[in-house]
Symmetry: C2
Subunit: 236 residues, 2 copies
């Protein structure tokens, strides 16, 4: 008997679908009935996480808790948050929820540690970078984090907000090659796509090689934690 997975979604909506697709792709299944029972709450009333961390925007935790309660009431036995920045609020949320909540940055750090990686580039929102969500998780796993410089970090934010979330800027307008070169020059052995909108952009750009996708790490861990078999031996 597998466990029912609950997804606190809407941060953003496209990233929620991306996680669901990765769970499907990573579950060993030959027919609909072999897949996991997944409950998803695309709760678009959750306020922007970066705005809350950096600019005194409204607190997202009350709406995240509402989603968690709805999912647990409906039967979820295990919760996921497909939003890296939201993990800044992890302790607050997890303490108020009666089922386990998987921690995407810690799971990602463990994958890097197991692979023997010493330095990883981090591409993420300003909120994730400045709040140290990945810094802490990586440093606890003995991995050094390196980041884009200020000008390139602004381009990462454009890619996430104007490119993926708003669909207002063509992805090819963003100097992604330059961003990646800057991280590699600082010694990055791999690059974390540490905002759930980034794997979507990088797949569209054909640039996923040499990157680790925390959404895929989370999907892989969820399939195993729910008690199903994975189609791959690891989340790389």
């Amino acid at each position: 008997m597998t466990k029912t997975v609950g997804i606190i979604g809407g941060m953003g909506p496209a990233a929620t679908c991306d996680l669901m697709e990765k769970i499907i792709a990573l579950t060993k299944a030959a027919r609909d009935q072999d897949h996991l029972h997944v409950l998803t709450d695309v709760n678009t009333a959750i306020p922007d996480r970066t705005a809350a961390i950096l600019h005194g925007g409204p607190d997202p935790v009350p709406e995240m808790r509402k989603s968690a309660r709805r999912l647990v009431s409906a039967g979820a036995e295990l919760l996921l948050m497909p939003c890296n920045t939201a993990h800044y609020f992890y302790d607050d949320l997890a303490a108020s929820v009666p089922v386990p909540v998987l921690h995407m940055p810690r799971l990602t750090a463990a994958v890097l540690q197991k692979a023997g990686i010493k330095t990883a580039g981090v591409l993420a929102t300003d909120g994730t970078v400045q709040s140290g969500v990945y810094e802490t998780a990586l440093s606890n796993a003995g991995v050094r984090a390196v980041y884009p410089d200020q000008a390139m970090q602004r381009q990462v934010m454009r890619l996430i907000y104007d490119g993926v979330k708003a669909g207002a800027v063509p992805l090819s307008d963003i100097p992604v090659d330059e961003i990646l070169a800057g991280l590699r020059a600082q010694g990055a052995e791999t690059v974390l796509l540490a905002c759930t909108e980034l794997p979507i952009a990088f797949r569209a750009l054909g640039l996923t090689d040499g990157c680790l996708d925390p959404t895929r790490v989370l999907a892989f861990a969820a399939v195993r934690a729910a008690g199903a078999e994975t189609t791959a031996p690891d989340p790389w």
Copy 2:
């Protein structure tokens, strides 16, 4: 204030994500918070619909009702079923649910009628074809339905079950061009991808031109029914 949308999903899981993505793409939005609140129950305990209709397999209605109840309890004000075959059980389900359930085949027939189409090819599971779900909806809208011959219908089932659901057969192994030519020879002005796995296969094959996608019709109707603006003027 927009309405909360509920999706009775898992029939199959990939088709559920496909509907969610089409709702996102068709919603006019510049940021996460502009998108609709969507609750999804990927209920993979729902038995196979075609097996129930044609071979005396277990009745899917009790599990569909459980999903509907979970979604309505969690706040859904409007329900969708991203599975054409499941609409064979529509009356049974809708009668037991306190919120509207959108009817994908009827919505699709209305789109064809509005476009002045007189003959449409129907690609669907044996269950959908033999139960007449589309036959009835189309004929009520004054549209004639034409179908693949027996040999080609077996290939449609292979595409759906072995190609998309099981991922066990490369999509390019199925003679899709021949299937489409057979429908056009019978006078089809357009082809309905009337199993929710087919738009996924046809997109992967680059063959969506000249087809109407009922999943997109359902997504379009859902965005409007929930009270949001659509990014396109119609679902074609």
